[in-house]
Subunit: 279 residues, 2 copies
């Protein structure tokens, strides 16, 4: 018997992955979660039919979302993660001794439960006392928050369906209000090769520019995400990554993707990508 | 009816593409060539079951293989292309008014014929009188050549099967001998995410370093190649891309990927890639 999982993009292409066995299937209050053991990619988490992460390449996504901003900060102490229920984003931020507290706002407790069972290399972060897990709606949390943060990381699903609110002008404005002076926000912002996302991506960056002085995009190579290329937004009212220098005196050891040269040059974009977001 | 083409990598994952119709199928002296019209990627050329190019993302591959080296040269006049039968690499180099002559050594005439029929945006280069097409074995051509070049571009198939000879120490040494003073060689060198290619890639760079003083790798985002990430080698006895400046006074207009900032920063690699090629 051969078992294959296939994720289709735009109904016209897809990635197909050979499966050893299905490890979990559950329907939460918010979504359907599946976990597979694969031949090449280690364990694979699928939400509503879309690949969320694999053990093989999650390091690219999580290191990009965290170290790129964290290295521009001198001593980041407080971080807010919206989403990120698998624990990978928290794991990377917890590598900084300067980090004293992380609030992580995951709407779906089941994602964390699944990660504890099948993604121990990510959910290891749940054991760190500096991490405070809140099972709440991220948009509401940010709207009502008065406490402020050095770093906000939006580790969300796509801007269609329940995740849509996390890409709006209002949400970004509320995030901007709870950033400390000097603070930075990063977010995942889809693939620039996806024709159906060109306009949504353009809108995301327009929305960000209404609340932040400096908004830049950077790209990562993520094989199991559509088109193998993923984009991230970097937004701040104080830090322009095109001109600022790396300020963090600490660089975690053992990173597999991020290094400081890359953390600067990663903001240099191909022409077709610049054309999407340039105003 | 739905028609899908699937290319499997390592028998454990693959990319699957929805097809409108098959445009061509022919068996040449060297390989099997198929052409499909797709829904998302325009026309698709497949050789021996592997995706060679699509109209959607061929610009990434061809611009990277050519402008990255050409911009480090003041006035490149003579170029040698090994392979490249679709015409895309020649198309990019012919954008430079300084280019007076290109020798292109394609072993399989049928690839050029197919490109003339279904990839007119690439085979347009065949009409330029500066392009000299030789239907020969690239390795033999280079071995017997005495004429020398400012730029050599190895636009080959994979280092398994007939293309293997184009990755050997002897071939690179022969290339090195016919580079003019100041000249540069580039080559496609597979995906660093492919576990089965980690050792072959390491060997390719070891081989290159035996014939060239400066050997660097750079990466491109190519959705329809395995893992969506492709690597390229830059080799020269005179130009170190990590330290040299862009010297070409001419930059072609309308490029969709390459720009000069990217042409410098593209040599900054993720840690896991550096580990493959660092000695």
């Amino acid at each position: 018997m051969e078992l294959w999982f296939t994720e289709y993009t735009n109904k016209t292409s897809g990635i197909t992955i050979k499966i050893k066995r299905q490890l979990d299937h559950r329907v939460s209050e918010f979504q359907t979660i599946d976990v597979f053991e694969t031949h090449y990619y280690g364990n694979l988490m699928v939400i509503d039919g879309y690949i969320m992460l694999t053990e093989f390449d999650e390091f690219v996504y999580h290191e990009n979302l965290t170290h790129v901003p964290a290295q521009f900060l001198q001593n980041p102490e407080k971080a807010l993660i919206i989403g990120g229920g698998d624990g990978g984003t928290a794991r990377e931020l917890l590598k900084y001794p300067s980090i004293k507290k992380i609030d992580m706002i995951e709407i779906d407790r089941e994602v964390c439960e699944v990660s504890k069972l099948y993604f121990k290399n990510l959910s290891v972060s749940f054991k760190d006392p500096r991490l405070n897990l809140h099972y709440e709606d991220g948009a509401k949390f940010v709207k009502n928050r008065t406490e402020s943060y050095d770093l906000i990381v939006i580790d969300s699903t796509d801007p269609v369906g329940p995740g849509e609110v996390l890409f709006t002008e209002e949400f970004y404005n509320n995030c901007s209000k709870i950033l400390k002076t000097g603070g930075i926000l990063t977010a995942q912002t889809e693939s620039p090769f996806d024709k159906e996302y060109i306009n949504p991506i353009r809108q995301i960056y327009k929305n960000l520019r209404k609340s932040f002085n400096y908004v830049s995009m950077y790209l990562g190579h993520i094989p199991t995400y559509p088109f193998g290329t993923w984009s991230f937004a970097f937004a701040s009212n104080w830090v322009d990554p095109l001109k600022s220098e790396i300020k963090n005196s600490y660089l975690p050891e053992g990173l597999r993707y991020y290094n400081r040269e890359l953390g600067k040059s990663i903001f240099t974009l191909p022409n077709f990508v610049k054309e999407i977001i340039d105003e």
